[in-house]
């Protein structure tokens, strides 16, 4: 036994010696970023349900790098195209190999990497995104949308400004149409939709795009209040919405809406049908009063899917996977997209304010950015800060739910039309 044999026990450390400097910095940087996510998740600044498993996954996958045996190294090398080292080994982890696709190689890796079965059978086909969407469906009360359908859908459309405007901006900055559409979806402020779109259109970039999306979505709760205060004066934020007769919506009407809207949208956009079915089946289960299913989707599926989504996103942030020159561009485009969507929502709020004879509070516009229910809560909070007795939450939730539907519509349009562009 000599020193190198002893050092071989600590491969997480010795692997640094076989890496390039940029890769060493990337690994250390991602470990620190993981710690930051856990810290801010614990503090409640970022969404803890997602950020704590994600931060841990991110830090530990970059720490737990080892030299894979020659057989495993050959399998990885075949998929990534990277050469193995002189002794036949290569650096990797025992957690996940996202780029392995050949059937034989995949069967081999499924028996080695502990998260590979969940990644292959639930993540890369969008199942986890659909589970999250079912959970969102169960949580949504579509009655708020049904009470004011045109107002809510108009606001939601305005709040898609970022999704649409970022697409040509991304193309101008050098991304392909498919890549541009995937990062532009961040403006829809809906994590599962971004995951779904990037898996369909730009699979090679879906890890950085989804990570960027979830990081920024966590920040909307902290960033949008400043946008509201900057663009809407306190006097307008304090406007009391005009009292209107309460529209009572029965659960039968909500169920009928879920059935008809879901079927029509699937007819229009078959490529987004998995997401649409997941959303509307959640709404239908809730409105049909199927309590056992509601509990199962709300507690087991939604939280289970969110946990594994966070953990897998973290583990996918291995330096060698995420190390891509386009990541910086994606970071910039993601923030542009969310910012433009927020501005678009507020413009929609202003338009409604003027068209209604100054009777609508323009703050409800920002709630149309479909980050359910964060943006609706942000809107109400900002109004309450200047006028504690003014309630805009019902209208804000209507716009919020419409935001989910318009984002699903735009996902369908992007996934169907963008691949046809030459």
């Amino acid at each position: 036994m000599n020193f190198s044999d002893v050092a071989n026990i600590f491969q997480g450390i010795t692997s640094f010696g076989h890496s390039t400097w940029p890769m060493i910095f990337a690994r250390i940087g991602l470990m620190i970023l993981g710690a930051v996510l856990v810290y801010y998740g614990r503090k409640g600044v970022l969404e803890p349900l997602l950020m704590i498993p994600m931060g841990l996954g991110m830090a530990m996958v970059n720490a737990g790098v080892l030299f894979l045996d020659p057989t495993t190294a050959a399998v990885i090398s075949r998929s990534t195209g990277e050469a193995v080292m002189a002794d036949g080994t290569t650096q990797g982890t025992l957690m996940l190999a996202p780029f392995v696709e050949r059937t034989d190689d995949l069967m081999y890796i499924l028996q080695i990497d502990f998260l590979q079965p969940i990644y292959t059978f639930a993540f890369s086909n969008g199942l986890i995104a659909c589970f999250v969407f079912m959970g969102i469906g169960v949580l949504l009360d579509v009655g708020f949308l049904l009470a004011r359908p045109f107002q809510s859908m108009f606001l939601a459309l305005c709040a898609e400004l970022g999704t649409v405007a970022t697409f040509p901006i991304a193309v101008a900055l050098g991304l392909t149409y498919n890549e541009a559409a995937s990062i532009a979806m961040v403006g829809g402020a809906d994590g599962p939709m971004v995951l779904f779109t990037s898996l369909k259109l730009a699979k090679h970039l879906f890890v950085p795009i989804t990570v960027v999306a979830y990081l920024y979505l966590g920040l909307t709760y902290g960033g949008y209040p400043y946008l509201i205060r900057f663009l809407i004066p306190a006097k307008l934020r304090a406007i009391r919405p005009q009292a209107r007769p309460v529209v009572k919506i029965s659960s039968g009407e909500k169920l009928a809406f879920a059935f008809v809207a879901g079927t029509v949208l699937c007819l229009l956009f078959p490529s987004a049908a998995p997401l649409l079915l997941s959303l509307f089946v959640g709404v239908a289960v809730r409105e049909a009063g199927l309590q056992y299913f509601t509990n199962m989707i709300e507690n087991t599926l939604l939280y289970g899917a969110t946990f594994f989504l966070g953990l897998l996103l973290g583990v996918l942030c291995e330096a060698s996977t995420i190390f891509n020159p386009k990541v910086l561009l994606l970071l910039v485009l993601g923030i542009i997209s969310l910012l433009l969507s927020g501005v678009g929502g507020i413009i929609g709020g202003y338009l409604l304010y003027f068209f209604s004879g100054r009777k609508v509070n323009p703050v409800i516009g920002i709630a149309a950015v479909s980050c359910v229910p964060s943006t609706a809560k942000v809107a109400q909070k900002e109004v309450s800060n200047v006028a504690p007795d003014v309630i805009i939450l019902p209208e804000a939730l209507g716009a919020n739910i419409s935001g989910v539907i318009t984002t699903a519509i735009l996902t369908g349009i992007f996934v169907s039309l963008v691949p046809l562009m030459k």
Partner: protein, 41 residues
């Protein structure tokens, strides 16, 4: 490529607008149908 992207973005936004209006119209129509024939509140 940029011009195509801008044109496509405008077309896709317009399409999304039409479909959103269609969904809103569908909701209104549903109310009428369900309340008349479905025994809704």
């Amino acid at each position: 490529m940029f011009t195509t992207a801008v044109t496509s973005a405008v077309i896709m936004y317009a399409l999304a607008g039409v479909i959103s209006l269609l969904v809103a119209g569908l909701i209104k129509l549903l109310f009428v149908v369900v309340r008349r024939y479905g025994g809704g509140e």
